[in-house]
């Protein structure tokens, strides 16, 4: 359990208020997506950590989650965080939330993200995420901001992504490739 100091810098967990009460701060610290073989497909960190710490956390967490049996609880206590994870086909979606967060709603957040991916890619599978990882990030960034849900309507998120995609200049404009 040692060496967790890096984890709570900047994110904050319990603050002691001026009256001396412990104050709850709700925050998602990071989200990881990894395959059944332990390959990392997506990582989004909402707390500042060094590369080394990130690698260490990723390695340990992937090991811990992959060791869980199929019918087990989706929540586990790891270091001083709660980990909420769910497996969709060959990918594990893993969120780290702080002690006082509502685990069930986090499961819903994960589910909503999967639905968004599904709608965007059309029956999404792991390959889509591997070959279009930047799109996966864009979608995540339209849905979550700073670790919190920013748009609760599925439709609106997808609309925004669509619009942003339209803004993307066509390739010939910046590769200077002549269009025949």
């Amino acid at each position: 359990m040692g060496g967790t100091s890096g984890l709570v810098k900047g994110g904050g967990r319990w603050l002691i208020s001026p009256e001396g009460n412990a104050v709850l701060i709700f925050k998602m610290q990071f989200m990881l997506l990894f395959s059944r073989q332990g390959k990392l497909r997506l990582q989004k960190w909402y707390v500042p950590l060094s590369d080394k710490e990130k690698k260490k956390i990723t390695r340990e967490l992937v090991q811990t989650v992959l060791a869980r049996k199929p019918k087990m609880c989706s929540f586990l206590e790891w270091r001083d965080l709660k980990i909420v994870y769910k497996r969709y086909a060959s990918l594990y979606f893993c969120c780290a939330i702080e002690d006082q967060d509502n685990e069930l709603i986090t499961l819903e957040i994960i589910h909503r993200y999967v639905e968004l991916l599904d709608k965007y890619f059309g029956s999404v599978c792991e390959l889509d995420i591997i070959f279009n990882f930047e799109k996966a990030y864009f979608i995540l960034d339209e849905f979550l901001l700073g670790g919190e849900a920013q748009e609760t309507s599925k439709k609106n998120v997808l609309k925004a992504i669509e619009q942003a995609d339209l803004l993307q200049e066509p390739r010939h404009e910046y590769f200077n490739v002549p269009v025949y």
């Binding site: 709850l24 709700f26 019918k71 509502n102 990030y137 960034d141 700073g146 849900a149 748009e151 309507s153």
Partner: protein, 737 residues
């Protein structure tokens, strides 16, 4: 980005962010979020770009900047850009407003003082219709209220507004945009509930205002799917945290009870988490569900088991201790290793508080030691030993049980340590073979010594355990009769052991055998009952420390008396000092012995004359021995019901001096003998001076008191020795045995 190193990309990101093309910006910002964080210097370089992009005409560019700021903005960046964010909070479209709100949240987390800046804007956002903006506003207000109690006070006025919004969500018809399995915008509902919790905490008025709403949500929310349960869960947490009326509390606990019976493991898990929070305040309500909780101990899932364990330990009370302990012990034998230590210490604590009887307590602790001995804390051993010494009627039972446990398994160090200690202390009870409480085993002295030797030699035993074993082997030398030689050989072997602690002990015990044999019985007699400093306290370091100190220096305690031996033995002591192999003496002793040795005799007597308590004359004296000029008289005094002080006085009526005059005494088995230091060992001729020896006898069983005394001295260069038996004691027959 898929887990491969990409440091070289940092400057590229900075360049791309500055580019006018959206595609490049998009990728550049993504790269920035991935590769840069506030610890990197390059992150400062993008501050300007972000600033510019925040005022960009294209909202998607603004959104990129906001997203990046909220993800990795450092404190300086936040300070710089806060006014911009505030502007965006007030005057922009809802797409940007919702993002600006969450960005503000990040800023407040980084730089708490800026909270004041955003409070007014946050307030006005609550009247927006857009769910995204509402959600962002609620999150922002939550953050502001948590960090600043004054802001909290101000925002209490928004409770009615929040209740309205919530009502709208719960009651209103189907809204396809925000619907999730029949619940309208559960994310927003949960956030509002959370904010209400913070606002209603410790405040009657606010709690009253939200009572109805909470009741409504609790009863109307559909709990067949996870999402419904998520909202119910948040409702329950809110109800339990604010000053809700009792009816509402009962409702909340009932919901938790329903959760406990749910098939879904996740739901059971969170039910137990919440029950844990209220077990202190609503103990009885939680007790009703004890059966289900105890069943969860047997669940396959480690998370559920952990929750169930914590909750079960919290539910133990005087009335259910026996049944709960059965379950907990069963759990301990099959629990995952990471929970063992917690389970063991929880069991000890519960046993300490609610033990119905001492025997049950000892049994429980022994059971835990057998199943999970490796995971218990260090103070368990002294605590248990203290418990055992206190339960004096159970000594026989305990030592039998421990002996059997020791034969079974010597790998659990705590158990082995306690077992060795008990065998050493109560070995005689073990060998006696009779026991009321459990089946006696036919144990011979060899068996016991075999067991102890196995512990000593096993590679599984830790050094502390071997120390325990060696000491108890030594103690047995006074409690058994036939195999003392075997003990001597064991002890002498360890005199050259590599382990310094064992070597020291062995050498001291060797010395005890060789030179101070007459003191051995006194040194190794039964330990007195250890006093508890703080009753009912598992972490009794008070009991722990004196225990630990009594053990090794037990032999040392006797040392200060040694220099007060007759002169020749003092010279022996000097010999020991000179030898320097045997670290027997603590600091006062050498000084004393050197002193007395240099002034041959007279000072010694004076020194010791002062020390020795002179018994008053009134006790009747009887001459018990008279031969070759040596006269020995005896007088006794009853100190208490079973304690008798006997004074032996010797005098020399011959014409030559006697030196090295020593008296040794032996008494029947059940009587305890304690010989004090003699006044000296030199008997000058013609009765010029006497030597007095005090003997304290403890006769608890009131047996017929007899004493055999051996007299030895040197006169005119030759050694003399004689024995005399004393069958009757003056003063004693009068008072009765």
């Amino acid at each position: 980005m898929l887990g491969y190193p990409a440091h070289f990309g940092q400057m590229e990101c900075v360049r791309m962010i500055a580019s006018p093309r959206y595609s490049e910006k998009r990728v550049g910002y993504l790269g920035a979020m991935m590769l840069l964080d506030e610890k990197q210097d390059a992150s400062l370089l993008i501050t300007n770009s972000i600033k510019n992009d925040l005022s960009h005409s294209n909202q998607y560019v603004q959104s990129l900047a906001l997203c990046t700021l909220a993800c990795m903005g450092s404190a300086e960046m936040c300070r710089d850009l806060a006014p911009e964010i505030d502007r965006l909070l007030r005057a922009s479209n809802s797409y940007i407003k919702k993002k600006a709100a969450l960005c503000a949240v990040h800023i407040v987390r980084k730089v708490q003082d800026l909270g004041e800046l955003f409070a007014p804007a946050a307030r006005s956002l609550l009247s927006e219709k857009n769910h995204g903006v509402l959600h962002g506003a609620v999150v922002l207000i939550t953050e502001l209220c948590e960090r600043n109690p004054e802001t909290l006070e101000r925002f209490r006025k928004t409770v009615p507004d929040l209740v309205q919004i919530m009502k709208g969500l719960v009651i209103s018809g189907y809204s396809p945009e925000h619907d999730v399995a029949g619940i309208s915008d559960p994310f927003l509902q949960v956030r509002i509930l959370r904010l209400l919790r913070i606002l209603g905490r410790n405040n009657e008025a606010a709690s009253d205002a939200m009572n109805d709403l909470l009741a409504q949500v609790a009863t109307n929310t559909d709990s067949t799917k996870t999402v419904g349960n998520a909202v119910l869960y948040e409702t329950v947490l809110t109800v339990l945290d604010i000053k809700s009326e009792s009816g509402l509390r009962v409702l909340a606990v009932n919901i938790l009870g329903r959760f406990l019976l749910n098939n879904d493991r996740n739901i059971r898990y969170i039910a137990m988490t919440s029950l844990q929070r209220i077990v202190g305040t609503d103990h009885n309500a939680v007790q009703r569900h004890r059966g289900t909780i105890v069943d969860c101990l047997k669940d396959q899932d480690a998370s559920v088991k952990r929750r169930a364990l914590e909750l079960s330990l919290a539910l133990v009370s005087a009335s259910n201790i026996r049944s709960m302990m059965k379950e907990l012990l069963l759990f301990l034998s099959s629990c995952p290793p990471e929970l063992r230590a917690q389970a063991a210490s929880g069991i000890f604590y519960a046993a300490e508080r609610y033990a119905p009887s001492q025997r049950w307590h000892i049994d429980t602790i022994l059971h835990v030691l057998t199943t999970a001995g490796g995971d218990v804390r260090d103070e368990t051993v002294p605590n248990l030993i203290q418990l055992i010494t206190n339960a004096s009627e159970l000594h026989c039972y305990t030592v039998h049980k421990l002996y059997r446990a020791l034969l079974n398994d010597i790998s659990q160090q705590s158990l082995v340590q306690v077992a060795c200690w008990c065998i050493g202390e109560y070995g005689d009870l073990l060998l006696r073979g009779e026991c009321h409480e459990t089946e006696p085993a036919q144990v011979t002295e060899d068996d016991v010594l075999d067991a102890l030797e196995t512990v000593l030699q096993s590679h599984m035993s830790s050094p502390a355990t071997r120390g325990f074993a060696l000491t108890s082997t030594m103690k047995l030398s006074t409690r058994i009769t036939d195999n003392v030689d075997r003990i001597r050989s064991i002890v002498s072997i360890y005199g050259s052991c590599i382990d310094v602690e064992l070597q020291q002990r062995a050498v001291e015990y060797n010395a005890l055998f060789k030179k101070y044999d007459h003191m051995r019985a006194a040194v190794l007699e039964r330990m007195p009952v250890i006093e508890k400093n703080s009753p009912g306290h598992t972490n009794g370091e008070s009991a722990g420390e004196p225990m630990k100190e009594i053990q090794p220096p037990k032999v040392k305690q006797r040392e200060p008396l040694l220099p007060q031996q007759p002169a020749n033995q003092v010279c022996d002591l000097l010999g020991l000092l000179g030898g320097s192999e045997e670290p027997l003496q603590p600091s006062p002793a050498p000084g004393l012995s050197l002193n007395t040795a240099s002034t041959a005799g007279g000072d010694l007597l004076d020194l010791l004359g002062g020390l020795e308590p002179t018994p008053p004359a009134p006790a009747p004296t009887v001459t018990v021995y008279e031969k070759d000029g040596v006269t020995l008289t005896l007088s006794c005094e009853k100190q208490s019901d079973s304690v008798l002080t006997v004074t032996l006085t010797a005098s020399n009526s011959t014409d030559s001096d006697m030196s090295s005059f020593t008296l040794q005494a032996a008494v029947p088995k059940s009587v305890q003998l304690h010989m004090k230091a003699p006044s000296g060992d030199f008997l000058p001729a013609r009765g010029a001076a006497k030597v007095t020896q005090l003997v304290v006898l403890n006769n608890p069983n009131k047996v017929n008191l007899k004493m055999r005394i051996r007299v030895s001295y040197t006169s005119q260069g030759s050694a003399f020795q004689d024995t005399v038996q004393i069958d009757s004691f003056p003063g004693l027959s009068a008072a009765g045995h």
